[in-house]
């Protein structure tokens, strides 16, 4: 069942001199199985949005409907159930690690829910597999011996072990190298394909979202300013730039080629696809020259 957001407004420290509007009048439907990327400058309300979806924050106004339940109406002592369904991976999840080895760390969540030893074991194993952490190799390692990327993946596995139906990731790629990002892309894609997990990823770098998302949302000043499919980026370069976001280079190249009058297909996602389109176009050009 999809997530429906109806007219959500959130104001921090309402009624004090420090009052700050984070989100204003958000209307949004998130379909099942979607991988949604949310972009925006710092302070645009991205993180607030995620915390609203998993019940850590409550909106000042509006409804958030997850699986047909309005989670804004759920009492505080039952909200934990929502957090299991809607798993939120915080920025720098490696900071929250506190157990002495990787297995115990990932097992903490399920155990805390009262799941028995055997099922916990299964869950930890799957979570580790999904995040590309080899079970035998990593289960007994101490978290502080791991590399930054590996720690990050343990942090994500912590949440995956709860078997959430929706996964929210806040800046999962921050301070990771290409290899680290690639591993996380793989996890997200696999999770999406095998379990159909709806995923929402927040990032301030559009380039990081392009390889994995299929829908893009740009927030600015607490409002949704742009809501497009990911392969439509090249069509909206101007709008994206006006919002203070720098678009991926390959989309920009395609946009300018198109603008110069080249008859090129700009509906692409990755750099490789863009290169192929350009090559294809150059090929047709060659043929024209030959036949002409």
């Amino acid at each position: 069942m999809p997530i429906k957001i109806k007219g959500v407004t959130h104001i921090y420290k309402k009624g004090t001199p420090f009052e700050k509007k984070a989100l204003e009048d958000i209307f949004l439907n998130i379909e099942n199985g979607e991988i949604l990327g949310i972009m925006g400058k710092s302070g645009s309300g991205k993180s607030t949005f995620l915390q609203l979806l998993n019940g850590l924050l409550r909106p000042c106004r509006g409804k958030i409907i997850v699986d047909d339940y309005d989670i804004t109406m759920i009492p505080a002592d039952e909200i934990a159930a929502v957090r299991r369904e809607v798993g939120l991976v915080f920025q720098f999840p490696e900071e929250q690690i506190f157990e002495t080895d990787v297995y115990k760390e990932i097992a903490f969540g399920p155990k805390n829910l009262g799941i028995d030893e055997k099922k916990t074991f299964e869950r930890v194993k799957t979570a580790m597999k999904l995040t590309g952490l080899e079970y035998v190799k990593f289960k007994d390692r101490r978290p502080n011996e791991l590399s930054g990327g590996e720690k990050r993946r343990v942090g994500i596995a912590d949440i995956l072990a709860l078997n959430p139906r929706y996964l929210l990731l806040d800046e999962p790629f921050a301070a990771l190298d290409y290899e680290g990002r690639r591993k996380i892309y793989q996890s997200i894609k696999e999770l999406n394909q095998t379990r159909g997990t709806t995923t929402i990823i927040v990032s301030h770098n559009l380039e990081y979202l392009v390889p994995v998302c299929n829908r893009l949302l740009i927030l600015a000043d607490g409002r949704v300013k742009l809501d497009i499919k990911i392969d439509e980026i090249a069509l909206y370069i101007k709008e994206i730039k006006n919002l203070g976001v720098s678009p991926p280079l390959h989309h920009e190249v395609l946009y300018y080629l198109k603008e110069k009058g080249f008859n090129i297909n700009v509906k692409v996602r990755t750099r490789e696809e863009a290169a192929r389109e350009i090559a294809k176009y150059l090929g047709t050009l060659k043929d024209e020259v030959k036949s002409g």
């Binding site: 915390q51 957090r83 929250q96 709860l162």
Partner: protein, 252 residues
Amino acid sequence: MVKNIGLGQYIPGNSILHRLDPRSKVIGTVILVVGTFTSAYPVETGIFLGTVLILGALSQVGIRYYFDSLKPLLYLILITAFFQVLLAEEELGQRFDAALNLGLRLFIIIFSMQVLMGTTSPLSLTSGMEKMLSPLKRIKFPVHELIMIMTISLRFIPLYIEDWERIKKAQMSRGINFEEKSIIKRLKNYISVLIPLLRISFQRAVDLATAMESRCYQGEGERSHLNVLKFTPYDFMYIGIIGGVWLITIWL
């Protein structure tokens, strides 16, 4: 975010007390504290009470501030007074009197500290302390280092509060319930916040040390200051008035 105003938090402002030199405020507070302890009950203590209340009004940080930050200390005062009533070896009437005496003194002392902390930024407070303690440098006492440690720890408190809130939220989204009914379970759950917090603070300490060293920071040696502290006539007046109050109570 932590809701109420923290104990001893600085409230920016531009009152007479805000503009005073931190050194004179520290000296004034010390006189008030010593004077209150040595004063005779009730007249002299009453004079000190009046003095701190006037100072509180002059500080212009609002009654709310004093009320909010005194609230947790009210328990301390009440408990102390309670034991005074319960355990002292005098007659009941006298015991109540003694309890009130003690409670009042505690209140005055805490209140005068509040005036100091509310009107003096941590930075100027520590630099004032450094100036005041500088004679100790002659006997090789590491004044500057000590003050640096104080400044850093004061600076880091808000960061830890932020970390605490953030990690707590992260653990909540892992299904940890901090509203657990059983206290033991709740405390156990807080371990999941404390351990990461400890690790982060160690990391931060190491990072800060590296950053300071890479900028060639050295504690010893003459360091100059951007804002040089200077006594004004107001400062002498302030110390004079408070010192005068003290002398009057001694004379009484």
